[in-house]
Subunit: 203 residues, 2 copies
């Protein structure tokens, strides 16, 4: 069993942190997406979407997509739970995980991929106007999350969850996309300090 990944992209880091929180050790094969190593015939055959990370099981089954890999390991080893135990918790955590993914990670990624010269060969065509259109979406979501964190410790409630992993990896990824937390984001900064101090954050 192994996970094919890139060492710098945010999605592989989400999986690494997820596994670290569960103390699961697994082999990683690290490739470089900037030189398009994920687009070789062998890789395309394994993952026709041409993305990393993806998990290859011992029987050859490929499980691609960050959250699908995490779901696999949550089922294999439920504790500590990162997707929630009760139906209510599972719903609320999935809600926040997706809000962060679609409301923050997606616009940060669009702004990065459509504005950065180094992304020109990976994002075809780059649409600069679309990149710019995502900037206020990022700012609005940071403000919303900062307000939510006024009343609670973690993104989805009082317990650390996969929603925190997505948010941490996104916020650390913001730098290359030329975003940063502002003075007014005090709650987000407090939260970022707490989740960054967990051993898993070094993964």
């Amino acid at each position: 069993m192994k996970i094919v990944q890139d060492g710098r992209a945010p999605n592989p880091r989400r999986v690494r942190i997820f596994l670290a929180e569960k103390s699961i050790e697994i082999a990683f094969e690290t490739i470089d997406i900037m030189t398009e190593e994920h687009k070789t015939p062998e890789r395309i055959q394994q993952n026709p979407m041409a993305r990393v990370p993806y998990l290859v099981l011992d029987d050859g089954t490929v499980i691609a997509e960050t959250m699908a890999i995490c779901r696999y390991f949550e089922a294999v080893q439920p504790a500590p739970s990162l997707f929630g135990r009760t139906a209510r918790d599972q719903g609320v955590i999935e809600m926040w995980q997706r809000r962060v993914e679609q409301g923050l990670l997606a616009p940060v990624a669009h702004a990065f991929r459509h504005r950065h010269p180094r992304m020109a060969h990976l994002e075809v065509p780059q649409v600069a106007e679309w990149g710019e259109a995502n900037v206020p979406k990022v700012e609005a979501m940071l403000d919303l999350l900062n307000g939510e964190l006024q009343g609670r410790a973690y993104i989805a409630g009082e317990q650390f969850s996969v929603a925190d992993i997505t948010a941490l990896c996104t916020i650390d990824f913001m730098k290359v996309a030329r975003f940063s937390l502002a003075e007014r984001h005090g709650n987000l900064k407090r939260w970022h300090g707490a989740v960054s101090a967990r051993p898993s954050a070094r993964a």
Copy 2:
């Protein structure tokens, strides 16, 4: 307990089909997103992302995001399973559900929202060039899915799953976004006929 929804958008239909497959009956409150009923102060307070559908539990807890609502009901009533039972099945189904969502539903939605005059007040700013950039992404994903369905009955394998629900709602939604299946998509058409014939498809 109730679900706030719009009667025509694809995401509420995903939830309706999901519940129909599980024979779960629940109250729906139908609003009209075209007249921005989802943006009243009461709705924004319930779901600050200003989207439908969202579920309101009897204790007032709001669970928004289509897949979060489905996860809630999968946990409440696991059978018939639509997210998979074994770890492997859960991973593979989540992989395909997300591939369809990000590879087909997202580009169809972008093409629709950025090209259709009626969407101008909901998608600000509309970026026509970005809408156009999504057209070949839709075509490429339809081709990929058609190839995958050469060898199997359903999107994620031999069993109907939530990935089929996402794909069905997306393909039926393509019409308003000016996409349609082509002659070459024979496998997709066979699959579409089969899933459309399920009683749940009328939901």
